[in-house]
Amino acid sequence: VLFSWCQWLENTSWATAIREGLWQFPLLETIHLLSMILLVAATAALDLRLAGFALRRQPVSQLAGRLLPTALAAFGINLVTGFFLFASEATSLYVNRFFFIKLVLIVVAVLFHFVVYRKAARWDDVAAMPAGAKLTGCFSLILWIGVVAAARWIAYV
């Protein structure tokens, strides 16, 4: 069922236009890349604060309040551009194992964010973070690096 949906998606007129156009695909990919920088840079800054490597004197909640809206907006742009890029090559991505790994990592990172991360952002004004918060920061950082790596590998199978 999912595969026939991919076939249908790939054959829509706009997906065909992205695939066959000279500039549509690279343009979407460039926007995907720019918003990825915004997303990962904002997330990593907060991760490094939680892990205790940077910005130690900034209250965590203040930092989170400034960085997370940016990360969320960038995530939205990545989702939209990513969907269009996916549509243009849906059937080959359906069988690409790195695409699958990337999606799993994103789902884990998003779930992790809502379940654990939001609570971890409560430790304010503490120079030495509790071990749990440090682990949270490190884990989130590793997850997003994994997403970038898996994404890059999609093109090499």
Binding site: F25, P26, E29, T30, L33, L34, M36, I37, L38, V40, A41, A42, A44, A45, I145, V148, A149, R152, W153, A155, Y156
Partner: protein, 162 residues
């Protein structure tokens, strides 16, 4: 001259090793991307402060002291990984690529912009360090920097399609 340089670099041990491996290229490209996140994330944050969009109460010189070392680490990572990626397929793909010189030119212009900023308006930063509204020349520098680095990324992405 250029083509003999491309031949030389692709035939160095490193060039043949990266070019002949299945996993080295995507691995190095991933590190190249992570360096880019560090470089552009740091530079853009500083540029946005110069333009007045972010952290108006942070002193400019203090922000520069905290962000710019990260930018240099990111730049170094990109320069090293970028050279390796170039060496892996210099003769056929990157040497003759029409977009590659555009990317190099944009990086050069970003460097010139940075030099003009640091040897110009930033030398008297103590006069406007804590001002939420920065001088016009600092705003121009921030704006040029944002546009140039966006151009570098766009050109970088286009190399693969040219």
């Amino acid at each position: 001259m250029w083509s003999s340089f491309c031949h030389w670099i692709q035939h160095t041990p490193v060039g043949t090793a990266v070019g002949g491996s299945d996993w080295a290229f995507p691995a190095i490209e991933t590190v190249h991307l992570l360096g880019m996140i560090l470089l552009v994330g740091s530079v853009a944050t500083f540029d946005l402060r110069l333009l007045g969009f972010l952290m108006p109460r942070q002193s400019v010189s203090r922000l520069a002291g905290r962000l710019l070392p990260g930018a240099w680490v990111g730049f170094s990572v990109m320069a090293v990984t970028g050279t390796l990626l170039f060496a892996s397929d210099a003769i056929r793909k990157y040497g003759p690529n029409p977009v590659f010189p555009i990317k190099m030119l944009l990086i050069f212009l970003a460097g010139v912009n940075m030099l003009i900023f640091h040897s110009g308006v930033y030398r008297r930063v103590e006069n406007w360090d804590d001002a939420p509204v920065t001088p016009l020349r600092a705003k121009v520098a921030g704006c040029c920097s944002l546009l140039l680095w966006t151009g570098v990324i766009t050109a970088g992405r286009w190399i693969g399609f040219a």
